[in-house]
Amino acid sequence: MSQLKISENGERFCQDVFDTMMQQSDAVYGVLISTVDGHDVTRKFKRDMPSAKLAAMFSSVLALGETIAREADQALCRYVIVENSDGYILTLKLKEKLVLSVIATTDANLGILHSICRSAADKLSKNLR
């Protein structure tokens, strides 16, 4: 099956951005870029996690977030945040067809995590075609 791929340079750039995110907060232990229709594109995980399954799930959760926002007469879903007893998962749209997801422990401050994600998303959006 042909899937959306990024170039070698693009891959290196993504890994640099992921490294920066993890340096900015030790709590971040997973960053994944996937497509809006649920394919894994690139990732950096400090723990073993099923990236293909997560990619599909992030696609579903973001689409549900966008749909719920529409049904509630609200515009533009910026993030979907899953707050758990032992961590946070932030998912946001990256350009038209990509999704950026960040997985962190509760050691992260949610505000800082937002800021790290937003900044990474801006960099990635500018550099990924």
């Binding site: 099956m1 042909s2 899937q3 959306l4 497509t35 809006v36 229709d37 649920g38 394919h39 293909a52 399954k53 990619a55 599909a56 799930m57 696609s59 579903s60 959760v61 689409a63 549900l64 966008e66 749909t67 049904e71 038209e96 067809k97």
Partner: protein, 177 residues
């Protein structure tokens, strides 16, 4: 039964979203996103979480219709969506290379749900392929030890979708009688 939850599944492009849009009394809830893989040759968008629609039967019963994503990578959504469901419609797209294998895949993946509920099979895109015959679908179901109604349907037509839903509800009522 005053409210019934039915699930519609089937391959990407089989017409799940279209079927719900054809019959829902309220604007259907969709979770379509752009396709980025081979499916883009066939359709621009695909369902990645669920579709939802509702209708009211003549006796006042409400039917809630949930459409699943078609791709197997969204199998986790199938398991979520069947919870509390009373019946399953499997749409099989005859324009695909092996519709009977597609039917097998859904019979296998929804086996637990099928075991406790009723099923109707809708054969779609007949205008593009006259095969397999309905007999072949019945034979394949028989090989699974199943006897389910099979209909040729045009999911764009409200009457066709209504026929599948009526058949499914009749099957459920017969099973509980």
């Amino acid at each position: 039964m005053s409210e019934i939850k039915l699930i519609i599944t089937g391959t990407p492009g089989a017409g799940k979203t279209t079927a719900i849009a054809a019959i829902s009394e309220t604007p259907p809830v969709r979770t379509d996103t752009a396709t980025t893989d081979d499916l883009a040759e066939v359709k621009d968008v695909t369902t990645v979480a669920m579709d939802f629609g509702e209708l009211t039967l003549d006796d006042g019963q409400k039917v809630f219709l949930y459409g699943t994503p078609g791709q197997q990578r969204f199998e986790f959504m199938w398991k979520i969506l069947v919870q509390g469901g009373l019946g399953l419609i499997i749409l099989v797209d005859c324009s695909r290379p092996d519709p009977l294998a597609d039917l097998d895949m859904y019979l296998e993946n929804f086996a637990d749900f099928i075991h406790q509920t009723g099923v109707v099979v809708g054969v779609t895109r007949r205008d593009q392929s006259a095969t397999p015959s309905l007999d072949e679908f019945y034979e394949r179901l028989e090989a699974w030890g199943r006897v389910f109604p099979v209909f040729e349907v045009d999911v764009r037509q409200k009457d066709d979708v209504s026929l599948m839903i009526s058949a499914l509800i009749s099957t459920l009522e017969f099973a509980t009688a």
